[in-house]
């Protein structure tokens, strides 16, 4: 892209919060989150109408019905249109996906009152009635429990012990059939973000995609399908092409419905300014996303349409990524600027309107999910900067404007990720940190551009493709040309340590879940314990891989494939005749497995405490320690204090960092030693845990690091135990980057909390910027800064009403602090305040 001439002062002059956006945002702030039912009802209606058709077609037709018949609206003052629901803040549900959960919630009246400390969602009484009917229909039509049956058949009943809530050796969405769920088990297990609006498709228009699909169809019909002579593959391809065409046509109609509505509203309004805007909106919606955008406004509108339809298609909370917004939009912006058709200020306001639209979607927090994920987050991540296909700094004027929009809009989403590299200017980095400080919480986050690209290059991917990636989902990332679709299953490492300490038995359930690796009280060296632990990890890793194969084979085989997703990646999916999740995307390497090994810092601190207290200092015996753990420290507070004072990861102390590095590298080796069962390639690892550390912690008893039973584990992969890092931020960064933890890993975040006083002058910002530089130079992957005063946080806990705008980043998310469950609030408060 072109050389960037902007500077921070010019960008700061922008007024994103124009009168229009102030008004729209205020409406949003004052709106109640309301459950939106229309799409669910339309889906069910369509499903009844398509009985007997191949599932992919049924899926595409249901999607099309939603787009053609759902209520649409254009809010007063909006410049960018296209809503997920008809409410200013609407929560989309799909009864087909989880009827029991929805029914339970309706019966408890949970939609009508505060359903937990973290979310309040309302429902219209008539909608409640319709939703109830819908849920009841699906409960009567629940599909067979095929995933669990397959797992049982392969591994026996005892296999399920590994996934019990009380044990949770395996944890994650891709673990087991949820008996409360209806259709689409595989969809429900998906994590890590899916391809959203894609630059290539926006630039070419959906009519082009339709034409390519039609041509391919024509070729099949005229010349026959040549897919290695496979009849099934030819049939597959036929239905996929049909699904692509149905989906794209429906999206175009959805846009045109908005054009009609805008024109109608234009006729009605007496305000000439608004009339002109509505006429412009009508022209935009007539044009995109069917045809290539002609200017910046149309391009932003196209991004919005493709983003919202991906959300509309998804059956449940779907992590639809926005991608490299500055790269997608810059050619349009640059051309408009050159031709004097737009000002920077106008562009900023349009982006502001886009920003707010993404925040209209509420993620319905059901009773079952409240502790699982960051509430309110649908993870529409925006990525900026990085290098382009020629390896040059891709930062452009829009990269700056995006940050300024984020700073002024002060919305928890979209989260912004900066792809950091060495050619990024200091001015930009300092500006990004200023935005981070003013924004208040962890936004933007910084990703290591070189590492991101290198990981793909190491898998044999061409540079032009490998360099085109963006942050997606929670702590994940995607190639622009290949949706990754991860089935994340996490090995709960601290749980495995607990099992090791009990010679294969899980003390929480009394079940023998692991191997008999020996009575640890007879061990004479810490190395014996390391070996025993790693043996257990190996044992569970083997089980994990087998489990994963069965889970995904049954899941994929029974779930619909998406014509929409195939359309987004059409240049590969169409010739192959496969949807992205079946291997249709350009590269299979990012398609499948992510194996999580989160909790390594808990394990390392625990092993360090044992080494220190039992073997080196001999202050206590292993038996005494085990007893204290069993009793959850009751009456053994002095032992707990000893454990808490033992060396802790995050202080640049080799005593414990050596253990951390050894265990991290060994477990990584173990997990990588088994190829992905579908592709035969090395899996990606996922060390991060955005909020999963809370859930996993519930299943684990007291740990030798001093943690009490049931407490959350440490978050985000390489973050130290809360409050344990006492040597300042450089020590934490050093601890986290002594060995390449991040190279084989996707979800590895490093959360750092700084007080505002560390960022209040330019000089200090330069120093924080240098923390990023050193972190990246040492091979770190993802770093983000949370910035708060302790007083602010404590007060926010007491008086949430006064701190509605207080933002906090948990793992890879942004969320409002007052929306977090108390445990997460406490954890953020406890996270060390580096310097006062």
């Amino acid at each position: 892209m072109s050389v960037c001439h902007v500077n921070a002062d010019e960008i700061r002059k922008l007024n994103v919060m124009t009168e229009r956006l102030q008004k729209l945002k205020k409406e949003w702030e004052e709106a109640k989150p309301i459950v939106y039912v229309d799409d669910s009802l339309l889906f069910t209606q369509s499903w009844k109408e398509t009985e007997g058709l191949p599932i992919d077609l049924r899926w595409a037709k249901a999607f099309a019905k939603k787009l053609r018949e759902c209520p649409i609206l254009i809010r007063e003052g909006e410049l960018i249109v296209g809503s997920l629901t008809k409410h200013v803040r609407g929560a989309n549900v799909l009864c087909a996906m989880k009827p029991r959960e929805i029914l339970e919630q309706l019966e408890r009246g949970a939609f009508d009152r505060k359903l937990s400390d973290i979310a309040t969602t309302y429902i219209d009484p008539e909608d409640a009635r319709l939703l109830k009917e819908d849920a009841e229909y699906w409960i009567e039509h629940m599909p067979p429990n095929y995933i669990n049956d397959a797992l049982r058949e392969e591994f026996g009943e005892s296999h399920f012990d590994l996934m019990m809530d009380e044990a949770m050796v395996f944890e994650g969405r891709g673990v087991r059939h949820n008996p409360d769920r209806g259709l689409f088990q595989g969809w429900g297990a998906m994590g890590g973000g899916i391809t959203g609006p894609r630059g290539k498709v926006i630039n070419e228009g959906l009519n082009h995609v339709i034409a390519v699909a039609r041509a391919e169809l024509e070729k099949m019909l005229a010349e026959g399908a040549v897919l290695d002579g496979s009849v099934a593959a030819a049939q597959r391809k036929y239905y996929l092409l049909k699904a692509i065409i149905i989906s794209c046509e429906a999206i175009i109609d959805f846009a045109r419905r908005h054009a009609d509505l805008a024109r109608e509203m234009a006729q009605r309004t007496s305000d000439p300014v608004r009339k002109a805007e509505l006429e412009r909106i009508a022209r935009n919606c007539e044009r995109v996303p069917a045809e290539p955008p002609r200017d910046f406004w149309e391009a932003v509108q196209a991004v919005r349409f493709l983003h919202v339809v991906c959300w509309k298609e998804s059956p449940e909370r779907a992590e639809v990524t926005i991608g490299r917004l500055d790269q997608m939009l810059y050619p349009y912006y640059e051309k408009d600027l050159r031709e004097n058709r737009i000002t920077r200020q106008q562009a900023a306001e349009l982006l502001g309107c886009f920003w707010l639209k993404t925040r209209e979607n509420e993620n319905l927090v059901t009773i079952k999910r409240e502790h699982r994920a960051a509430p309110g987050s649908l993870l529409p991540n925006v990525t900026i900067c990085g290098r382009d296909k020629e390896g040059r700094d891709a930062t452009n004027e829009l990269s700056w404007i995006v940050l300024e929009v984020m700073r002024q809009m002060k919305l928890s989403e979209p989260a912004v990720y900066v792809r950091y590299h060495e050619d990024l200017s200091d001015e930009f980095l300092i500006f990004a940190l200023e935005c981070n400080r003013d924004f208040g919480g962890g936004n933007p986050a910084f990703l290591n551009d070189k590492l991101g690209t290198d990981r793909y290059l190491a898998r044999g991917i061409k540079y032009e493709d490998a360099s085109d990636w963006y942050a997606s989902g929670c702590l994940a990332y995607n190639l622009d040309c290949a949706e990754h679709v991860a089935g994340t299953i996490n090995l709960n490492q601290p749980k495995i340590l607990e099992i090791t300490l009990n010679n294969g038995v899980d003390p929480r359930t009394g079940k023998e879940l692991g191997l008999k690796t020996g009575d640890v009280t007879t061990f004479t060296s810490i190395e014996q314990l390391y070996d025993a632990f790693l043996k257990q990890v190996d044992y569970f890793a083997d089980k994990l891989r087998r489990h994963y194969f069965i889970y995904w084979s049954t899941g994929i085989a029974n779930d619909p494939q998406s014509g929409l997703r195939a359309a987004m990646l059409y240049e590969d999916c169409i010739p192959k005749g496969l949807a992205p999740r079946e291997g249709g995307a350009r590269y299979p390497v990012t398609r499948m497995s992510w194996f999580g090994d989160g909790g390594i810092t808990d394990v390392s601190d625990s092993l360090a405490a044992i080494k220190h207290l039992v073997f080196d200092q001999k202050k206590i015996t292993m038996a005494e320690l085990l007893e204290a753990l069993r009793d959850n420290w009751q009456g053994k507070e002095h032992i707990r204090q000893m454990c808490l004072s033992a060396p802790k990861y995050g202080n640049d102390d080799d005593y414990v960092d050596d253990i951390f590095n050894y265990i991290s590298m060994k477990t990584q080796e173990i997990l990588l030693s088994r190829p992905d069962p579908f592709t035969g390639l090395k899996p990606f690892l996922f060390k991060g845990a955005a909020a999963g550390h809370v859930v996993r912690g519930k299943a684990i008893g007291a740990l030798p690091n001093g943690r009490k039973a049931g407490q959350p584990l440490n978050d985000a992969g390489t973050s130290p135990m809360p409050g344990a890092d006492v040597n300042g931020p450089t020590a934490v960064v050093n601890s986290a980057t002594k060995v390449p933890h991040a190279f084989a890993t996707v979800g590895l975040a490093h959360n750092m909390k700084l007080t505002k006083s560390l960022l209040n002058t330019r000089e200090k910002l330069i120093k924080v910027a240098s923390l990023i530089k050193v972190f990246m130079a040492r091979g770190g992957w993802h770093i983000q800064f949370n910035i708060h005063s302790l007083e602010e946080l404590l007060d926010a806990k007491k008086h949430p009403e006064k701190h509605k705008n207080l933002l906090v980043r948990v793992g890879g998310y942004s969320a409002y602090f007052v929306d977090l469950p108390p445990e997460l609030q406490d954890e953020i408060i406890a996270r060390t305040q580096h310097a006062v």
Partner: protein, 303 residues
């Protein structure tokens, strides 16, 4: 020379206000001055000292049991340390399960300190940072300070000395060859008030300032700005004249008075004498800055 030991009470990494860039500040224990506003009371006494943090204490009495000289008692639900009996042996510190007791001051070799300092070399390189030897008063441990700074300088690490200027000239001369930058404190220009506020005369301080200037070592004048003590316009002008004339226009850093150290006085059973003093108002800081600027001096307020 590396076997020389120093009495260190803190090594603070990511120091961002003690010289350029990201620095590691090595605080040496022991100071001849007793500034009323001192925010590091643990820095004054040259020997190790036991400190007790009330808020962490669970009053379990473990320390009372283990104290070999019966200096600790548990009375009226609170731990009391008889400072006359306590010989700072540290037995109680290692036995306290709640980290309520700690010992300030640890004897360390140059090698040991250097091992910590060098850990952040990557950050020094990126920011032009390095090591700062502070105190207490580094001149009171001149041999050690010189050896440490030399060691760092040889390793290519930028060196900085933070001094009150109160020390023997030969001691200063030992350190200066290994010092790239001196942060030189001025507390008051009036000898009588200097004595009243710090316990010592300022004549030696000013002579040492001349020595640093003569030696040609770059220098920054640091002034702790204490409301009602040294922040009058006249006093600020007096500081400015010294900075302009004696220190040949060296830049000035203003260090506004703060009360972060008061908790440590309680932990050490030491009286804090400026109980009612508030940090300087923003206008006063600006006024101070203006005065220094009017003398053609660069001036930065460190907040």
């Amino acid at each position: 020379m590396e076997s020389i030991k120093g009495m260190v009470f803190n090594i603070q990494r990511y120091s961002i206000d003690d010289g350029p860039g990201i620095r590691t500040t090595v605080f040496l224990k022991g100071c001849p001055l007793r500034c009323l506003w001192c925010s590091n009371p643990e820095s004054q006494n040259p020997c190790p000292e036991i400190a007790h943090r009330e808020s962490s204490c669970k009053r379990c009495g473990r320390c009372v049991e283990v104290c070999p000289v019966q200096a600790i008692s548990l009375t009226e639900g609170a731990i009391r340390i008889d400072r006359n009996l306590c010989d700072n042996c540290g037995e109680c510190v290692s036995e306290c399960p709640h980290e309520a007791l700690k010992i300030f001051g640890k004897e360390m070799t140059v090698d040991e300190v250097f091992a910590v300092v060098r850990k952040d070399k990557d950050y020094y390189k990126v920011t032009g940072g390095g090591v700062t030897v502070s105190g207490g008063e580094p001149l009171a441990q001149a041999e050690f300070a010189a050896a440490l700074l030399k060691r760092c300088q040889e390793a290519g690490i930028h060196t900085c000395l933070d001094t009150s200027g109160y020390g023997a000239q030969p001691d200063l001369e030992k350190i200066l060859p290994y010092t790239a930058l001196v942060l030189f404190d001025l507390k008051h220009m009036d000898p009588v008030l200097h004595r009243e506020y710090t316990g010592c005369d300022n004549e030696l301080v000013l002579r040492n300032l001349e020595l640093v200037v003569k030696n040609g070592t770059p220098l920054i004048i640091r002034i702790p700005l204490i409301p009602g003590h040294n922040d009058s316009d006249e006093q600020l002008a007096a500081f400015a004249r010294v900075a302009a004339e004696v220190a040949k226009g060296a830049p000035v850093n203003i260090m506004p008075y703060h009360r972060y150290g008061t908790g440590k006085y309680k932990m050490l059973d030491l009286p804090y004498q400026l109980d009612d003093l508030k940090p300087p108002a923003e206008e006063r800081l600006q006024r101070a800055k203006e005065i220094f600027n009017s003398f053609g001096l660069e001036c930065e307020v460190k907040i």
